[in-house]
Each structure stands twice: as C-alpha cells, then as structure tokens.
Symmetry: C2
Subunit: 449 residues, 2 copies
Amino acid sequence: MPEDREDKSDELLNLILNVLPSLPFWQSAIKLNDFFIGLTGNFKLLCESVVYNKTLMKKLLEANYDIMIIDPVTPCGELVAELLAVPFVITLRVSVGGNMERCCGKLPAPPSYVPVPMVGLTDRMTFLERVKNTMLLVFFNFWMQDYDFHFWKQFYSEALGRPTTICEILGKAEIWLIRTYWDFEFPRPYLPNFEFVGGLHCKPAKPLPEEMEEFVQSSGEDGVVVFSLGSLVQNLTEEKSDLIASALAQIPQKVLWRYKGKKPATLGANTRLYDWIPQNDLLGHPKTKAFITHGGMNGVYEAIYHGVPMVGIPMFGDQPDNIAHMKAKGAAVEISFNTMTHADLLRALRTVINDPSYKENAMRLSKIHHDQPVKPLDRAIFWIEYVMRHKGAKHLRPAIHDLTWVQYHSLDVIGFLMACVAISIFLVTKCCLFTCQKLGKTRIKTKRE
Amino acid sequence: MPEDREDKSDELLNLILNVLPSLPFWQSAIKLNDFFIGLTGNFKLLCESVVYNKTLMKKLLEANYDIMIIDPVTPCGELVAELLAVPFVITLRVSVGGNMERCCGKLPAPPSYVPVPMVGLTDRMTFLERVKNTMLLVFFNFWMQDYDFHFWKQFYSEALGRPTTICEILGKAEIWLIRTYWDFEFPRPYLPNFEFVGGLHCKPAKPLPEEMEEFVQSSGEDGVVVFSLGSLVQNLTEEKSDLIASALAQIPQKVLWRYKGKKPATLGANTRLYDWIPQNDLLGHPKTKAFITHGGMNGVYEAIYHGVPMVGIPMFGDQPDNIAHMKAKGAAVEISFNTMTHADLLRALRTVINDPSYKENAMRLSKIHHDQPVKPLDRAIFWIEYVMRHKGAKHLRPAIHDLTWVQYHSLDVIGFLMACVAISIFLVTKCCLFTCQKLGKTRIKTKRE
C-alpha cells in the first residue's frame, strides 16, 4: 500500500459524529459519497499493489492454497482467487444496498417483501413503503453498475486479460456465508449456495473479573446495564458524554460503560467507566437487564445469543439496519445519536427494562438462535471444508449465473409471446376483413344480377 | 369411505399400460383428465367422510395431537389440521406442475431456469424451451385455480365456516419437507421453511439372503443388473415380457428381475424372477452394475445413495420427471415403455454398464448425498420436533403469504410509478407548449409593435 494513504476510519468517525449532523441532507449525501469514493480509491490502490506485485503473487501461487475466504465489502480477494485459480467462499454481513448478494450472487429479492438493506424497512411494508423499496432497488441496481464501471471493470479486465466485471468474478463464489440467521433476518427467498451463519462467533459467558463481578452483584435485584459504542468511538464531545452520563445516573441499575474519553462531570455513582469490557461475558450474566449499543453486528448477535433487550444508537454502515431489524422484532428501542436528549435515552432504557415484551422477544430470538440442527460455526466450517474436499460446490450453483438479465427475467420470452399474440390478432382481423369484403362484393354482384 | 368406490390404482395402470398407448395425444389427455377427475372425486368423498364424521373428529380433537404430517397430493390433511387447530408439516415429492409448492407454499420458480416439473425440462433451456416452460407455468397456474374451484374451494369453505381456498390452508404449513435434495434437484431458489430431505429412507445395504448372494456371486467380474418396475406393475403382456426377457438374455451380467407374471418364454439362463427383492440391499451390493427401474422416487434415491447408474422406463406420475433428472445429471438412460424394442433396452443397458461416465456420475451424486452437514432423516426429524417444541415455526414463514398476487408481483407499484411518469411527461409537455405559445404571442406582438 502506498505510504501516503492513511487509515480512513478516523476520518469517517469525524464525519459521522461532527461534520454531517450540522449539514442538510443533500450536502450530507454528497460528503458521504465523496468519502466513499476516496475509500474505494484506497481499496483499489491496495488491490493493485497486490495483484501487480509479481513476487507476492508468485509466492501465493506456489503456496497452492485449497481455498480463499473473502469479505467482498473490501473487493480484491475474488480477483486474487481467480488469478490463482483457487475456489473461494464469501463471508458477508451485507453489501451496500444488498447489491453484491443480489446482482452478483443472484439472491432473489422481490421488492414486495424483501426490504433493501440499510434503509430501515421491514418485510411488512405499506404501499408507499413498497414504492420506496422498489425505487431503491432500481437505484441500487444502477449504483452497482456505476460502482463497477468507475472502479473495477477496467482494472479487473486488465488484470485477468479478458473483459469482465466485478460481479462476474464475485458470482464465481462457491458458497456465500451470510453472517445473519432467521433470528435476525426477515424470512426471504435464497439459494442453495447461500448459508446463513449469523452469530457464529457467539459463545457461552465466562466468569467476570473479580472486581467487575463484585460491582455487578452490588446491583441487587435491579441488575446492570451494559453500554458500549464499539471500538471505533473512543471519545465523545463533553456535551454528549454529560448528557448520557446524567441520564444513566437516573436509573436504579448499575451501569458498565466502555468509554476511554474524559470522565463526564455528571457521572452517577451507579456508573463505572472501563477502557475495555468482556462484552460477551457481561451480556451472558444473569444480572444484565439491557444493552446500550451502537448496533455493530457482533454485539447485536451476542445480545441475541444471550437474550438481552437493546437500546440502539446506530451511527453508520450496517448499524442502522441491524437496529431496525431488532426493533421490528420487538427486542430493541432505537434513538438517534445526533438528536437524542437526556429524556430520550432515559425513556428508551426504562422501556426495554420495564416493558416485559422486550425481554420476552429477546428470549424468543435467543431460542430460535440456539434451536438449529447445526450450530452456525459448524455449518460455516462444514461448507468451507466441503469446498476444500470437492474443489468447489458446483452442485449448489444455480443456472441463473449463465443467463443474461433479459433471459433471467424472461423478457425475451414475454416479448416473443406478445409478438405471437399481436401477429395472430392481426392475421385474424385481416382474414375477417377480407372475408367481409368478399361477402360484400358477392352480395352487391348478386343484387346487380 | 363409501363402499361402492373402488381402488383406482389398477384402473390407472390399465390406462397407462393398455389403453393410452393406442390413442392419439388429445384423446390420451382427455382420458387421463377424466381419470384424474374421478380420482379427485374419490379423494373429496374420503375427505368429506372424515371431516363430517363428528365422532371421529371429536376423537381426533380429544387426542390433542402436537403435530400433523401430511402429503397434500391426497388433499384433506391440511383441512383436518386447521379444524383441529394443530400445526402441520408437509411432506411432498412434487405436486402436479409443482403447483402446491409454488402457488400455496410460495416457492419462487422463475421460468427462465426453474423447469416446471414433470415435463422433462432441465435448468438449462434453449429459447424455445423457455417459451414452453413459461407457457406451462401460466397453464398450471390456471389449472391450480380450476382444481381448487371445482373440487375444494366450496367444500373447504363450508367445512371451516368461512370463505377460503385449498391454497390458503396449505399455505399455513409450518415446514415443507420436500423429498429431494441437490443430488437430484437442479439448484433453485427456495424459502427458509422449505427443507430438502430427499433419500431420507435410504440405509446401508444389509447382507442378501443366502440363495440370492450365491446367484449374485456367480456373476463373477460381470456383476449383476437389478430390475424392478415397482409394486404396481405385477403383470405385463406376453409380448412385452418376451421382448424384455430376450434383451436381458443377451447381456453377460446376471439379472435379478422382480416379476410376478407368467415366466416369459425367452427368459435367459442369466435371469432369475423374484416375487420380491430386497432392493436396497441389492443396489448396495458391490457386484451391482445397473438398475432397470420405472423411476419411482424411492428406488431412484436408493440408486443415488449407492451410486448405481440407471436405465429408466418411466410410466406415470413423477416417474418421467425423476428419470429426466437422472438423465440430465448423466446417471441414467431413458427408454419408453410403450415404444421400446429389444434393441433399445439392450443398447441402454450396455451404455450405462460400459460407458464409465454413467458410473462416475452416479458416484458423484452419491458423494453429494452422503456429504451433508446433517442426514436428511435427521433434518426431517429435527424440524418435526421443532414444530412440536415451539408449536410452529413462524420465524421461517415469509411475509409473502400476507400479500395478494398483484402486491407480490409489485404490479400496483409498477402501475403507480408508470402513472407518475406519464403524468410528469404530460405536465412537462403542457408547460412547454404553454410557454412556446406565450413566447410566440409575445414575439408576434413585438413584431406588430
């Protein structure tokens, strides 16, 4: 990677937390798009420095790998796999607009009940929501074309020495391991080479460190609340952290807050700050009543695994979508990071803790998660090893990959059948007219005679 | 069941073996349709004598069942389940035209690569085959409406005391256990509440009876051929059985033929007739080289399980489709029961025995069958017990069941969007015309001045 390129995660965080909230919608969209273009440019540079590095590629080729496991949110892996002629398996939570799964993996997504990811819709939509969903689907289809055209098409074609697209290469994946399951996802059509392995990282809780266990036990009947905004958010503005701390101070529960910033002035006696928390062990603790989360997929799945209701404060990426799913399933309340007030946070916390439906729904999801024929991690391992054993999983690959868009949607067939009907109508009409004319002439002739 | 109604299987067999072959296509179709109407009438009578039998229904209700397992090819179970308010699971190989799975279970079936069952198409179709497939899909959709309207709609509505259709009731199935798997099926889209458990009855082979083992061992290097036309076909015409026997006499293999009819005059020394054979144990015997089968699903799956290539002589129901699948996967040769000659049977047998690709393909399917994360029977048991544990499997039920046909296909949304576009174009055109007119007038005015 060229050295002058820096890590983009701080830039993104600054954008989300400080820049975008003060901008109107369109300017936000433009700023985000600019950021995305910069980020993808970085990905592309990184990819070029891999595939055009002959020494590295030779080394990879000689290693004679059986399989590659790639997350296509950062493209390149599929190109390397194709160049090395190694079968590959995809692991993915979701791509922008679900484009890669839908356009490249050919995952069916009827807009009437499969919501476009990341826009907060569910599988039960009103008419206007279905209109929105359909328009978004069309928009994202074009977006994917544009994404390919601007960044990848030419580069991938040059690297492979034949015309191709990123979608064609991604479509060669043997198995798509999607990191969700029906405890999280709305039931939707899928394909035999898609396996839903959400929560594959989840484990039973281990005992807490002694000091932490003592603090948790001191909460008595009220229990504790676990609070983390993930590893990216290290600091908040003083105003924001004071607002949060003062709300937390008002609940009877003890709070464990993962926070590295300055200690807020309003911090209550019930709240302790930690540089790091054993999140999974805390969520699996019987005293845990709620989880305040930014909605990262791993945290959400740990909460599902242990059946803990959530207060979601999503920021970017898949986080709003993750929280929207949990909200739709009745296991979370969502509040906006940018506009939330002290009262909002307090109300949300009291709701998920005191309204028993949230705990019940979280437990229902937990039961669904635990009651599977095979654990998600074992399924993921099985299919990865399957591809290694058989050098692929061609028997699961649908024939749609060999059809054009027009063929897949049967547009040529519909056109042909409509043409047949039109020609038939035309011929029948012509025949009728001809017969009528003939009859008319004969009649006139007869009359004259 | 009213006593004057007789078993229809003999009638069907007579129709297939003796009546239809001598009739032209359209008369065959009408005869078959008449038979089907009679058969469905019987099913309906049977169903009425269950659901209107108050003593029986009371007894069933009091038994307080946890689950019902039904095969909807003979409808009624789903109605009884609905009346008893018991969750039910469907087990099905395939319904006529795949109608029940598609129309009632909402299984997606894009006609571009999902062939309508029972017409011998595969997932790789030419343009004209896709036209045929699309037309068949439309035909079968209407057929399903008609089937419901003529037999079930009114009866089900009366029995339940509210307007309903057979599809609505079938659509309430918690899980559809489809008795195929990707060793047999072409990869196709499906839904979370569909589980493909084909071959769930298959088992490793047990040792053969002593006399049979001796006969099999006497075949030496050449091995044996197993031949069965299933339990329905007990007798053949003398001409047909002579033809078959004389062809079998010409192969070097020993043949075990399950046949209850008169011993054919042309029977070779290498062929033995049996009233009954332990089919699975024979197919699993290392000396077995080929299986001549009518293409019943159980036999085909036993052949897949043990990796035995097939000669298919399908007759009716799902048999032609089963053989078409095996043919498409390169594990079978098909011959027509009605038109086959001595040479046809001999050629087919020699092909599957001597061309190694047939054995290789059969072994490939066998490997796919054996290399699953969970055995089909265990998966079927898991989901049946799941429904019992949780009183259903609602988390797998797609929202499409609550949409109308128009909504599902987004026809209302497309109509709305097209209307919006049309109105926009109209308004823009009007505005342009108005502005042009105004400008024109102003110019004329200016000129005059």
